[in-house]
């Protein structure tokens, strides 16, 4: 019974963690007016876009604030980032932990996104 309770608690916590990320996030317009966004889907896939133009698709795992993913750029290299939520979980930024794709790392490190409701 105890095991079941613990497992259930973990599952609830995990689903809460997933829900924290699932959904649509976007940056504010840049100096040039560009808006970058990403949709994290419940099936562990995501779609990134700029100005409503999709440019990257991938799959991810999000656990204990650690976002691990691969996408259709960067020769299939895996990226590992910590996601820092702030402003009552309505905003996030990515802190690189391990990503050998330099261009992606530079891009993602600059991103600050807000949840789109």
């Amino acid at each position: 019974m105890k095991t079941v309770l613990i497992s259930t608690t973990i599952l609830i916590l995990l689903s809460f963690a997933t829900d924290r990320l699932t959904g649509r996030w976007e940056t504010k317009p840049s100096v040039n007016g560009n808006i970058t966004g990403v949709v994290f889907k419940p099936d562990s896939s995501f779609e990134g876009y700029v100005n409503k133009k999709p440019f990257v698709s991938g799959r991810y795992v999000f656990r204990d604030s650690i976002f691990t993913f691969t996408d259709n750029g960067c020769d299939g290299k895996q990226g590992v980032y910590k996601i820092v939520f702030f402003s009552n979980n309505d905003s996030l930024r990515f802190v690189p932990i391990n990503d050998s794709c330099t261009e992606r790392k530079e891009g993602m490190s600059r991103l600050i996104m807000g949840r789109i409701k």
Binding site: E47, K52, K53
Partner: protein, 322 residues
């Protein structure tokens, strides 16, 4: 026949758009740029406008392999789409213009395009009471090189498209708008086809320069990027073009040598079958991709899905006369 239908559509569209500007005062720089884009005043004999080679119905690309300029002079390269340029630079097949503003002025002076010295073009605009008024109102200045470039570039930056079936699938999360063939084609694009190695990004280009094997120093003797960079390793390299609206922007490649998307796919699948003596071809294409007929069809379906809905009519006409 197909060619003449294309010309007819482009001609009608140009006239309709040009007429719609009559007596309509531009309210911003982009609208002024639009007016200039369609006005042959910027060519030597006032017969050619930007829109003569960047045809609106064909995603602002040309339907000819290479365009004809003033006096019927043939250019040497295909006129690429002028759409979806906001996120891109540099410009031209060889990347010789660093900014859109720089790009906007170059065809005016090019002897095989509009063939008008920029000083003369500016003088014409200053001599025009209407244009003088427009420039003074919007730039607080008479026409100059700088504000002419700024106006045309501002218009070009409005030519963004993001409403294709692919966009609706990926951005709006509606997977019902694309077929299974499109979805499989996207897999081929990112996998066996290696297309995404160069065509990656919001406009399906990384804006870099590649030699895909269309230079052999003989009948294919446009050395491309090396003319600008001066670097030997850049010989035969050209800028990777956007794939947005690619179904209506043919003919394809810097010299317009392929008329259909399937010809392009066949070439990439087995380049040596088309050009066996290419020089300095990119290592990504060192070995044949070996795509099956089914994979080629899926890839074509995916490419067609990149067509914005505003070009549905053009596609319909093309299909009718195919």
């Amino acid at each position: 026949m197909k060619k003449y239908v294309g010309y007819a559509i482009a001609g009608i569209a140009t006239v309709v758009i040009a007429l719609s500007f009559t007596n309509k005062e531009p309210e911003n720089k982009a609208e002024l740029g639009k007016l200039l884009f369609f006005d042959p005043i910027l060519s030597k004999d006032k017969t050619i406008s930007c829109a003569s080679c960047h045809k609106p119905d064909f995603a602002f690309a040309d339907t000819s392999a290479v365009s004809r300029g003033v006096g019927g002079k043939r250019g040497t390269r295909n006129s690429p789409t002028a759409m979806n340029v906001m996120l891109r630079r540099p410009f031209f097949w060889d990347g010789r213009a660093r900014t859109l503003e720089e790009q906007a002025l170059a065809p005016i002076e090019n002897p095989v395009e509009m063939n008008l010295h920029l000083d003369s073009a500016i003088q014409r605009l200053r001599d025009s009471r209407i244009y003088n008024d427009y420039f003074r109102k919007l730039f607080d200045s008479e026409p100059t090189r700088e504000n002419l470039a700024a106006a045309i570039a501002a218009f070009e930056r409005t030519l963004e498209t993001s409403n294709s079936p692919f966009d609706r699938w990926k951005f709006y999360e509606d997977s019902t708008v694309v077929s299974m063939g499109v979805k499989r084609g996207f897999e081929v694009f990112n996998g066996k086809g290696k297309c995404n190695k160069c065509h990656f990004g919001a406009d399906f280009t990384q804006n870099d320069f590649r030699n895909i094997g269309l230079f052999n120093g003989r009948e294919l003797n446009d050395s491309g990027r090396t003319l600008v960079s001066g670097k030997k390793e850049d010989i035969g390299k050209f800028k990777t073009p956007s794939l947005r609206n690619v179904s209506v922007t043919g003919p394809y490649m810097h010299n317009g040598m392929f008329t259909t998307l399937m010809q392009v796919i066949d070439f990439y699948s087995e380049p040596d079958k088309v050009i066996s003596n290419s020089i300095n071809r990119d290592s990504l294409l060192a070995k044949p991709l070996g795509l099956s007929q089914a994979e080629k069809s899926d890839l074509e379906a995916f490419l067609l899905s990149l067509t914005d809905e505003k070009f549905n009519n053009t596609v319909e006409v093309q299909m009718k006369y195919r």
